[in-house]
């Protein structure tokens, strides 16, 4: 049993699962494996693997990913995307918008990253590329003002979803974290989706926890899963914050998104 657990520990750490999560996870697995109904045909090592798989799938959200995106009692429903710099928010907005449109919704893309060079232009081009309407503006003013404007515009024109593309920010940047909280207060999102890069290492928990402390995250979108990173960050974030991973980004084009599959992710993390 101990040999199997040591092997699993190494596999999880190599997969970038946070070392604290690994420690707690293995303790629980050990307990469950010892207490589990003994299946005559399984060796203790195999018993451990079975428990590990079940525990991983459970932690990765079990069935939570399949819960549909929330709809506000008063339209439009605002879905706010947030996360660290470069994680894939703007690209994901195009994917989500296309996905929503295909399921009969009427989304409006609202670019409110006013700091990165050509960010508004990128959001406009991404939206157009995905066949989506976008609230265009000259990139001046404040993100909160532009967000409010976009929601008003959506309400007037009959859009039932607003996809808010926010600027990448560090969880240790007080000013920008305050701004994120202000954005949330201003437009009361039905979903706050944390966009995280699948190749993130031990820092994944630190940033996710800090974001969750400032705004109530309702889901995680894990991007760049078409790469070969094992994606242990998914487990770390889900285990520590309890926020379920809802979607997986699997490429750069608007079609490259799928509902998150915890079974497949568990297998990938274990390598």
């Amino acid at each position: 049993m101990d040999a199997a657990l040591r092997e699993i520990r190494l596999a999880l750490l190599e997969a970038d699962v946070s070392f604290k999560v690994v420690r707690d996870f293995l303790a629980r697995v050990r307990e469950k494996a010892l207490g589990a109904d003994v299946i005559q045909s399984l060796t203790p090592g195999q018993q451990v693997i079975r428990v590990v798989r079940d525990e991983l799938v459970g932690l990765l959200g079990g069935g939570a990913a399949t819960r549909p995106l929330a709809i506000s009692s008063r339209p439009p429903s605002v879905y706010m995307l947030c996360g660290l710099q470069g994680s894939g928010k703007t690209t994901t907005i195009g994917k989500l918008g296309r996905w929503l449109k295909k399921s009969g919704r009427h989304p409006l893309v609202a670019p409110v990253d006013l700091q990165r060079p050509a960010a508004v232009l990128q959001a406009v081009q991404v939206a157009r590329g995905a066949g989506l309407a976008v609230y265009e503006h000259d990139g001046t003013g404040s993100p909160v003002e532009r967000a409010r404007e976009a929601v008003r515009h959506a309400r007037q024109k009959g859009f039932d979803v607003v996809l808010l593309d926010t600027a990448g920010r560090l969880h240790v940047d007080e000013e920008l974290m305050d701004e994120l909280a202000a954005l949330r207060a201003a437009v009361e999102p039905a979903e706050i989706l944390y966009v995280a890069d699948a190749m993130t290492g031990q820092d994944a928990v630190r940033s996710a926890e800090a974001f969750k402390a400032r705004v109530p995250l309702t889901g995680v979108i894990l991007t760049k899963l078409d790469g070969d990173a094992r994606g242990g960050a998914a487990l770390s974030v889900a285990a520590i914050t309890g926020v379920p991973v809802r979607f997986a980004g699997i490429g750069e084009k608007p079609e490259a998104i799928e509902v998150f599959d915890p079974e497949r992710m568990a297998g990938r993390i274990l390598g």
Binding site: R9, G86, R116, P117, Q122, Q125, D197, Q202, K224, D226
Partner: protein, 277 residues
Amino acid sequence: ASAGRPVDDALLDELEEALLSADLGPELAAELRDRLGQRLRGEAVGGPDQVLGVLREEILALLPPRVPETRPTAPPRVTLVVGVNGSGKTTTAGKLAALWGREGRKVVVAAADTFRAAAVEQMAIWAERSGAEVVRSQPGADPAAVAFDAARAARARHADELLVDTAGRLHNKKPLMDELAKIARVIAKEIPGAPHETLLVLDGTTGRNAVIQAREFTRVAPVSGLVLTKLDGTARGGVAVAIGRELGIPVRYVGVGEAADDLLLFEAEEYVAGLLA
């Protein structure tokens, strides 16, 4: 750890966890823990500083020696900027253009990401900020053609530096890696010996995958240096130690923010101290 505490398993465990937390990876963390145990076990140490001092020494010994940057006999020096999606390439190229501009060097920038939405515009804004000339083409154009035109322009203008920004690409996508190899080949044809520097830009928050990125990128475009970005966050960038040790590739610069002067020259001592902070 407190003064006079013996170097026992509990202390070694703590240090190993600190190394894991800094993204050094389980193999290297275990190895350094063993090394430390061998050197100090049983001794009562003067305090946590002494143990950390020994650990810092051990990590420093793993980093590649400081090697000066390649300077060609005739200008322009060509720097190719590569890496996976969103790591900070375009921003880093902008910061380098600003740095060299401040040093009085004439810079030409090739906006050779012809794929991603608004990539050329983003690079152009950065180039404009520092007065560098930007060479660009139509969306969907062949990036190798942009690099070629920029190399021509840099020679014609007697530029000191040519910076080539490329599209983000995942190393497990063969057609994209082939494209990168072609960009490097085309540059070499136009300017013999170029690219003189190939910088792999790594997001400082990246985990073990960074080591695979370094291996795969260096296969198609020999990487001469790393740039670790976003170290103004809480990530420590420990992956650079494993990369340095396995591939001998040094870190050249560290990105510590989104403004033009948020680029630091890599300082090994400071970096290692940061790993254990």
